[in-house]
Each structure stands twice: as C-alpha cells, then as structure tokens.
C-alpha cells in the first residue's frame, strides 16, 4: 500500500458540487477507473479518500489535493490517465504524485476573486473601500460553527486571517487577489471575507466567482 496525492482542478459547472458530494463522486470515480485501491478494514470497507482542504460550494480551484491509498504497482502516470478518463465535466486531474508535505503544513491559500457590480461607480467604490478596510486591520464578522452538535455564532476579526490583499476596479468588475489563512490551526473562508466586506461597504455584487489558485506553507512556498 502506498499513499498518493491527486491534484484536482475544479471549475465551471463542477463548482456546484459540494464537498460531501465530491467525496461520493470520487468514491465512484476511483471505481470506474479500476484502480487497485486500498480499502479500509471496517464492517463496511471503502476506499480511503481524503480531501485535505474542503472547498466551499460555488468556488473553483486550480489545485485541490486529494490523498488516496493504492495497492499494486500501477504507475502514477497510468493512475492519472485512468482517473482523467472518468471525470465529470469541470473536474480535471492535473497531477498524481507521492505526497511531499504532511497535510498539517498547509498554512495559507491564494485566491483570485472576480466580482461584477451593477455599475462602474459601485465597483470602484467597493475596490477602494475594501482596500482601506483591510489596511485598517479591523473587520468583524460572525462566523458560524458547531460545538457539540449545536450551532454557535462567534465574532471574529477577519483581518487576522488576511496575509495579503489587493483589489482593483475595471469597469463594473472588481478583481481581488488575496492570500488567506488556511489549514487546521486557523483559516479564513474567502466567502466570509467577501460577505463581511459587502456588509461593511453596503455594496453587493451581482456576480461572484472565487477561484483558489494554490496552497502555501507557512514559509510562503508551495504546499506539495
């Protein structure tokens, strides 16, 4: 048995597949691909699949890591070829490699966000005000969580999770490039940041597309 990290690009219609459904999709995909997978040894054996960084519904990603465990001596290239052949529209396998970093190394994620407003003025105001708000270092938002099965709401300062932030307006559009905390210790969901900015600026875009570009380690190098 050996561990492999599958790198997945998720875009277009596939961004509406939720994290739980992605699990189910891949459970079936690995069966279609006829890989020799390692199965868990419980009462109900199933292949080992672990998405390291669940992606929010509606977001795209350039590179999602999925850890799997396989048996036998099929080459990584063959596994990539077989998986690629059985994917639904919008999901591409960009690489299959031995994991280099442990999952706990994930510290940040880089995002590309496109917002479209109803008019140029709203766009440029949103870009300007967001830059100022982020630079001020204070932006509170309510973060919903769960504790012991109960829903909880706690107030957080989203700026604590922003490592870098650029926003520029271009006509009705606003482009944001941001690096946000990710991983198990602390993480900031890009949707939470956006909704906090919308609430603060009282400006709402008509269309949003969030794309995760890459995952980073604490030292700023690529998570691999």
């Amino acid at each position: 048995m050996r561990s492999l990290r599958v790198w997945i690009k998720k875009e277009g219609r596939a961004k509406y597949i939720s994290h739980l459904d992605m699990n189910r999709c891949f459970m079936r995909a690995v069966r279609r691909a006829n890989l020799n997978l390692w199965y868990t040894e419980g009462f109900n054996p199933h292949p080992y699949l672990n998405f390291l960084t669940p992606l929010s519904l509606g977001q795209e990603s350039e590179a999602e890591p999925l850890d799997i465990k396989v048996e036998g001596d099929m080459t990584d290239g063959e596994i990539q070829k077989r998986l690629s052949a059985v994917m639904p529209e919008g999901i591409t396998i960009t690489g299959v490699r031995e994991p280099v970093c442990p999952a706990s190394d994930i510290a940040a994620a880089e995002y590309d966000v496109l917002l479209e407003f109803s008019d140029d003025e709203s766009a440029s105001r949103f870009a300007g005000e967001s830059r100022r708000i982020v630079a001020s270092g204070v932006l509170t938002a309510e973060k919903q969580g769960k504790k012991g099965g109960r829903k909880t709401v706690k107030e957080v300062n989203v700026c604590d999770g922003i490592l870098s932030f650029e926003a520029s307006a271009d006509g009705k559009e606003v482009h944001i490039k941001a690096t946000l905390a990710a991983g198990n210790t602390s993480s900031l969901n890009s949707s939470l940041l956006l909704s906090a900015l919308e609430a603060k600026t009282e400006l709402s875009p008509e269309y949003v597309n969030i794309r995760r570009l890459r995952l980073l380690k604490a030292d700023g190098t690529d998570f691999r």
């Binding site: 277009g12 219609r13 509406y16 459970m27 079936r28 279609r32 199933h46 059985v86 269309y207 597309n209």
Partner: protein, 618 residues
C-alpha cells in the same frame, strides 16, 4: 458552460447542483446536426427524477438515435422557480442549457397523480400555454407516459398525446413520424391524426366525451379514424429490449443512488388494491445472463457500489438462485452490494439472505396491508399470519432488531375488528422477538407500523369502490392509535387529505382539467410534498369549478357505469375485474398466477404469452 444569468441565480438557491447538468455520462450533441430536440421532463425534483429507472432507459434509447438529442428537465424547487421568474429565465434543459420552448418534443413521465400541477408549472415556466388547444404549432409537441396515463383524462386538456404502456418501442416510432411531418411542414392536427394510428398512442383531442345528468360518463366517441380503444404497448422480449450501457451519474446525492436492474415486469400476485400489480402485466422475465451483463456494464461505467434488483415482488423471480450465482462472484470481488427490495414475507428464504452477505442490516420491511386474515383474503394479499411471524422470527434470529410493517386503512369490507387487528399483528411481531431464544442480548425491538389510507385506482378490482371519507379515515387512525399498548411499536400515518386528492385525480374525468388548472394558478405545486401541500387551495378550486370531491372519491360506481378510462385497454378484462371484485365481497382469495391462471386477459397484449406460467427452479 453556464450562462452568467443562471450563475447569478445559482449562488442564491439551495442545492444548485440540481440545476447545472454536466454530470458524467450525460449526452452532449451538436444542436445543429440533430433533427429532433427532445426534452424529457420529470415533474418533480432532480433527486427524485434522477432515481427513476424509466427515465434512464428512455434517455439512452432516444440518444442512441443520431438524429435526436434527448435532454433532461426537472421541476425547479420553489426557491429556484421564484428566482427564475424574477430573472425572466425560462425553463431550460440540463445538457444544453437551451430553453425547452424551442424543442420539438416535451415529454413528461407521470408517475403519481400529485405531480400533475408540476407539469403545468413546468409548461408555464417554459413560456408555453398549459392547454393543448392554445399551442397551435406542431412543435413543441407535449406528450406524456407513465402509470398515471392509464387514466389520462384529468390531464388530457394539457397534453397533445399520451403513450400508455411501455415506451421502449413506441417512442422511436413517434419520433420517426414527427420527423416526416416536420419536414413536410404539416400542421399539428394533421400530425395528431396520423399519430393516433400508431398502436399505443392516445390522442385525447380525437375523442368526444359526453356526460349524463348525474355527472357520470355517457359516451366516449372517437373521431378522425382514432381507434375505439387505445391498447397499451408492451415489449415482448425483455432480453432483446434496449437497455443502456451507462447511466448518467449525478454529481449530487439523489434518492436512489445506485445501479438498478429490472428483473421482470408485471406481478403474479394480484393484490386487489394494487394498480401496479395489474397495469404492468403480462409477466415477462429477463434472463439471468442478460441481467448480469447489464449490471456489469452499468457498474463499470458508473462506479456505483450497489445494485438494486428491481421488480414488484423480487422473490417471485423464478431464476433468482441462478442470477445470484452469476452476480455474487464479481460483486463480492468488487465490494458491490446487492439489494433486493420488495421481498415477500412468504418466500423470504434464509438461504437467500445468507447469500447476500453485503446487505446492510438497517431494517426489514413487510407489507401485511391488513390486520386480519379475513381482510387479507378479501384484498387477495395471500399472506398468512404464520408466514409473517415465521419471517419475523427468522429475521430476529438473523440479528435484525427493527421491522417495518405496512398497513392500509379504509379497505373495502373493512370493519373495526380489522382495524384493531393492525395493532394486534404488530404486537405479535414484538412478542416473536422476545420469544426468540437467540435474540441479540441487551437489545430492544422496534416495530414501526406505517398506516396508509386506501386509494381506489383504475384497472384494479376495487376501481368501483368508494374511498372512506376523511372523517371515517381519521376515526380509524384514532382506533389504531388507541389500540397500540407498547412503545416498542411506533406508528405513522399518511395524510388523509393527500390520499383523498390522490383518489379524486386517479379516477377523475376530463372535467377535472379546470380544477387542476385553478389549483395550480392558486399556487399548488409539489402536492406530493407534505410541506408544500395546500389542500385548502384544492378545495377552493373544486368549489370554483362547481365540482365535488365526494363524487370522485367517495361514490360507489355500479358495474353498469362507463368509467372515464375505459377507452384505454391495458389488457386486463373488465369481466375479470368484476369477478375479482365479487370474490372480495366473499372474502375469497385468488391463487397467484403461477399456481393457476386467473384469466386476467393481459397475455392478449403479448401474443398470448405470459411468463407467470414458467415453472421456476423452486
């Protein structure tokens, strides 16, 4: 690629994956290179429609033609509907994203009466008039199939033509005909007259219905060469019947997320309340080799890890042992489960269950339907108390601790004693658990009893019977409730209003079109969903249209009456149904078709052939 207009909406609705398409194995064609665009519409949510095997078969069958592109359409949930109407986004097909108003065929499958308002709503969302007569051009042609079409009368104002029976063959014949008429620029009425000549096509506008003073049907007169009786189509040989090599694999979780393999059509049992038991006759079995081959192909192309062997009564399949011996070696190896729904309590074999090692031990379900032997005989549920209890005993010995029992109230000839018998039988099942020396230690038993209300349906021996009034049904529910003395039995009841509307629509006539349209305009949709059902709007619609629900639901029909659906021929003879109805009054059971042919007449649809007379391996 999704349009930006759609994407703006998708971010604001629940489960946007319902509306995106792009699933594995969905079929994309070049819209310029096909002659016919076919929108296959399921008038319920994506999760329900995608679970339906008939849709999977017909989708692949139509797409096997290079001249036609079949796409899927489901009823948008109310949040999506609202956003679509706000944004002016018309109903579109999932594969292309194109508005279905521009398609050639819009085909609905009518699986249950409570989806009728959804059909109207989908036509409206498409931007089309809901009434057939208001859609003047040849295309889009609105067609419908599915079990409800055995009495299409309540919805025949909305649909241009119906396909009673099995669609595997007639669909292609209809498409061929439409291509010809479209090419020569023919009009809609000309086409419909020609379509009516295809066996298994019912064009309601070619039939004039007149009524007696009391509201019953006086006569049904065909025009323009349409047949006196429209015979449902059947597929003669299931082994040679088209079957897809792959299913569209949904990216989001659906209700039945697994491979489904049909093992036979029809049912040998003849339970007198059960419409499915009659309208899918005659019995036709599929060979184990064919089922095995199809399962392998679907599993390989879908990646599903569960196969459901489907039929109306799986343990009546004569070649089950043979089938399992083909399936088990490779499904074991690939860790694929085999599920066998619809087992009967009388021939549930322990050996059979032991072979299905992968089966999940969640719960076992049995359907005694009635609480006393007398009533079980009257409804021809040929199942004895001993059989039920011995099956429960086996199940408990095998480690199950939870059993579900399905009953009905309001059955013809029912007395209070029968109603009290429900709790009595459930209690005996509980006792069986505690009498079992091998019962799992330290565990309690849970017997969940689900009580539905009887709905009389066309083409059953009870098609003439009145449904109990709401008051009677509620009284009987109370009687069941008060007779349960233990917490080991948990009770649930179907909503009586829902059953009442189902009864009205199931045996309705053409006059109900106004009621259905009024109810839909009043806001009714997703009537089958308890949280969406608005019985008050339906009542209001009946009163606005000066029609009475009692007339349809609670009236006993005499054998002399012309029933609204009798110009459709499902092979089941009227004399057989009358005979069975009389036997019910005498509490006399009829042997199952394998023991003795009861002469229902359905074999006439199949050149005299019925596989019920196969001698099985048992």
């Amino acid at each position: 690629m999704l349009s930006k207009k759609l994407e703006k909406i998708l971010n604001t609705v629940q489960k946007p994956g319902r509306y995106t398409g792009g699933e594995l194995n969905s079929v994309i064609k070049n819209r310029e290179s096909v002659k016919i665009r076919y929108a296959f519409c399921f008038p319920d949510t994506y999760e329900i429609g995608m679970s339906h095997i008939g849709m999977k078969i017909l989708y692949s069958l139509v797409n096997a033609r290079s001249d036609t592109w079949c796409e899927r359409v489901f009823a948008p949930w109310v949040d999506m509907e609202e956003r679509m109407r706000e944004a002016g986004l018309p109903l579109y097909a999932l594969e292309s994203g194109d508005a279905i108003a521009g398609f050639d065929i819009i085909g609905f499958t009518l699986q249950y009466e409570l989806s009728y308002t959804n059909m109207l709503n989908m036509l409206d969302l498409a931007g089309l008039p809901v009434r057939s007569r208001d859609r003047k051009s040849l295309t889009p042609l609105v067609i419908a199939g599915g079990p409800c079409v055995c009495n299409a009368e309540p919805v025949c104002e909305f649909v241009d033509l119906f396909l009673p029976g099995e669609g595997e063959e007639v669909t292609n014949e209809l498409i061929d005909l439409l291509i010809g008429y479209k090419e020569k620029g023919a009009g809609k009425s000309e086409f419909l007259r020609a379509a009516a000549e295809i066996e298994g096509v019912y064009v309601p506008s070619l039939y004039d219905v007149s009524y007696n003073g009391d509201g019953t049907v006086a006569s049904v007169t065909p025009r323009g060469g349409a047949p006196e009786k429209v015979k449902k189509r059947v597929v003669r040989d299931l082994d040679k019947m088209f079957f897809p090599e792959s299913f569209v694999v949904p990216s989001i979780e659906i209700v039945h997320d697994r491979t489904t393999a049909e093992i036979f059509r029809g049912c040998i049992r003849g339970c007198r309340f059960c419409q499915a038991g009659f309208i899918y006759r005659p019995i036709r079995e599929k060979s184990p080799e064919v089922i095995d081959r199809q399962c392998r192909s679907i599993c390989a192309t879908s990646g599903y890890d569960e196969i459901s062997l489907s039929s109306l009564s799986s343990s009546d399949y004569t070649r089950m042992e043979e089938l399992l011996s083909l399936l088990i070696p490779w499904t074991d190896r690939e860790k694929t489960n085999i599920a066998l729904p619809s087992l009967r309590a009388d021939n549930f074999k322990k050996e059979l269950m032991d072979r299905l090692t992968g089966i999940r031990r969640s719960s076992l379900t049995f359907a005694p339907e009635a609480g006393t032997q007398r009533l079980r005989d009257a409804i021809n549920k040929n199942l004895t108390e001993d059989e039920i209890l011995s099956t429960a005993r086996q199940a408990f010995a095998g480690g199950w601790t939870s059993v579900k029992l399905y009953f009905m109230i309001g059955l013809p000839t029912e007395t209070d004693e029968d109603v009290l018998g429900i709790a009595g039988l459930a209690q005996k099942v509980v006792d069986e658990f505690y009498n079992n020396p091998d019962k799992p230690k330290g565990k309690s038993v849970n017997v969940s009893v689900s009580v539905a209300s009887f709905v009389p349906k066309p083409f059953t021996p009870f098609q003439w019977e009145p449904q109990d009034s709401i008051e009677e049904l509620l009284k009987k529910q109370e009687l069941v409730r008060s007779s349960v003395k233990t917490r080991k039995i948990s009770l649930s009841f179907h909503k009586t209003n829902t059953s009442r509307l189902e009864a009205v629509l199931a045996r309705g006539d053409r006059r109900l079109a106004d009621v259905i349209e009024t109810a839909w305009r009043g806001g009714c949709r997703f009537d089958g969903w308890d949280d969406m059902f608005r019985f008050d709007i339906w009542e209001q619609a009946f009163s606005e249209c000066s029609l009475s629900m009692d007339f349809y639901a609670n009236r006993r029909r005499s054998f002399d009456e012309t029933l609204p659906w009798e110009h459709t021929d499902y092979g089941i003879g009227r004399s057989f149904l009358e005979r069975e109805n009389k036997k019910a009054r005498e509490n006399a059971a009829t042997p199952n078709c394998r023991e003795k042919c009861a002469g229902c007449g359905a074999n006439s649809l199949n050149g005299g052939e019925c596989h019920a007379l196969f001698k099985g391996l048992d």
